[in-house]
Amino acid sequence: MLRDEPIPGEQLRRIDEEIRGNWPTGQAVDFEEAIAFHESLPASKRFADVLEAAEKPLLQPRAGVPRLDDQIDLLEHLQNAGQADLLPTTIDSYTRDNEYEKAQQGLDDARADGEDTLNGFPAVNHGVDGCRELIEALDAPIEVRHGTPDARLLASITFAGGFQSFEGGPISYNIPYTKEHDLEETIRHWQFVDRLAGAYTERGVRINREPFGPLTGTLVPPCIAIAVMVIEGMLAVTQGVRSITLGYGQVGNLVQDVAALHALRSLGEEYLGDDVAVTTVFHEWMGGFPPDEARANGVIGLGGMTAAVAQPDKVITKSPQEFQGVPTKEANAAGLRTTRQLVDMVIEQNVQLVGVDRELNLIQKASRELIEEVLALGDGDVAQGTLAAFDSGALDVPFAPSDSAKGDVLPARDDDGRIRIFEFADLALSDDVKEIHRNRLDSRADTEGRDQTFRMVADDVDAISDGKLIGRPQGGD
């Protein structure tokens, strides 16, 4: 039975050998030699150290193209023209589905005629040496960002390849991303990834792990995102991870975003313990963007502003071309610089917002209720508790395509634009918390002269891309 316990060394080695047999490049991984490679890297490329020592939020974009030379060019541009503090390598979709053969075909095509049919960097196919070439070519630390439910081979190769940070987790890379992956199996796969990161950590190479905070990116109530982050953090710590960056996606209400980032940090520190370095990452708006670069810059501006007030350890930036999909490298760098300008202008102002404490208390209380219910359902075992909670709907993620989550919870914005829960379904929240959410949504309904309705939810999903925060009824309705 799945338990939240460290994978024994022998089992780790057995799984490792097995999964490295899944694709030829897996054979090149040698743990001892990999440790030596990591030790040869300069301090400026030690991801966890750079992130944890930062005095103000570090900026990081998303970026991945199939060819190694192109990826180096792209990251150099983001490092130089974009002044990114931390760099990404975003993995392609075939690799996320463990279809290394298709990824290889895409990489071969890209090498042959320069056409990019892959939407990211197929790190497994590039293998350990390809990864190391990338790590060596850039000055800043680089993180693997992907969306892979079973990321065991990807982790094995990229860790050996010199990457020291790895995004994802068993809930956050399953529930929002896929329909049919079994949650129990995904937890097992991530226990392996985390145990491998733990093995490096024990040898002095602290691999930073970053659960994916935005989840479905669509009006996720902060308490749900925070509960998932803390749970994934606990699972990782069990396997020996000691540097964890908990994530959170901007909802667009300044007070709620600041409160949520503070709650995320304090609950993370509380639940993950003193021997773990807990940092936070703030994702600029992950929902739909306006189909207009000028308006998109407004959304990015609010993201930079929020980061300056909340002061997370890291910010994942968006580009003004977000609406059309993958941005040009120039637009990607522009998003970084717009964010930088706002953060640098505002951070020294020590802006304090009225109402953060009250919202912080509400978010903390609700998050804690969810986390404690998970622990209770598992009789103290967070892995078992997670399965039971998602099965019963005690823990749920709105708009999740996965069969492993009920997906019955529905959010809506209140009259100030804060995300509240419109439909609780079986979510394990107390009547106290529920009443506050209902009252806040009632206030909005009063303002709009309509009942609380499902239409609010739909209107809110599109509101920011339509140029507003709250999906108010339009004149014509």
Binding site: K179, T216, T218, P398, F399, A400, P401, D403, G407, D408, L410, E423, R450, D451, T453, F454, R455, V457, A458, V461
Partner: protein
């Protein structure tokens, strides 16, 4: 007795928001809902409709390829002996055609009603009540029309 309706996003479309809201609205309105979720094939819709003895199939599509995904669906339902109400809604064509033209094409494919992406859940519910001959309370009728 509650009527059963089948809900799903057809083809390889992964847009989950609309159908999630619709599921909740239908449940709240007293329907038994079988939500097949995203990336659902024609086979899955037909199997679910038969297994659940459903009275309606509601298909959602937001990625612009609905016409291909729905080719032959009515014929397969007929082959399976399922005389059942079918609706489709969403962004049904790539680019912004005249919606009346889109509606006409999907009516020809055999759908009883065709909705655009701006449709309220309440509109779909009102249509279902009419097509399935379900009585509406005064209060509900007021809300639907509001």
């Amino acid at each position: 007795m509650a009527k059963t309706v089948i809900l799903g996003v057809i083809g390889s479309d992964a847009h989950v928001v609309g159908i999630t809201i619709l599921e909740q609205a239908l449940s709240a309105a007293g329907f038994d809902v079988v939500n097949l979720g995203v990336q659902t094939s024609q086979e899955d819709f037909i199997t679910a409709a038969r297994d659940a003895d459903a009275e309606a199939v509601l298909i959602s599509s937001l990625y612009g390829h609905a016409e291909q995904d729905c080719q032959g669906f009515r014929e397969r339902l007929d082959e399976a002996g399922l005389d059942i109400v079918t609706y489709i809604g969403g962004n049904l064509a790539v680019g912004q055609d005249d919606f009346e033209e889109t509606r006409r094409r999907f009516r020809e494919l055999g759908f009883d009603r065709v909705f655009d992406s701006e449709t309220d859940p309440e509109d779909a519910i009102a249509a279902l009540r009419q097509d399935l001959q379900i009585a509406t309370t005064e209060a509900e009728r007021h809300r639907v029309e509001g």
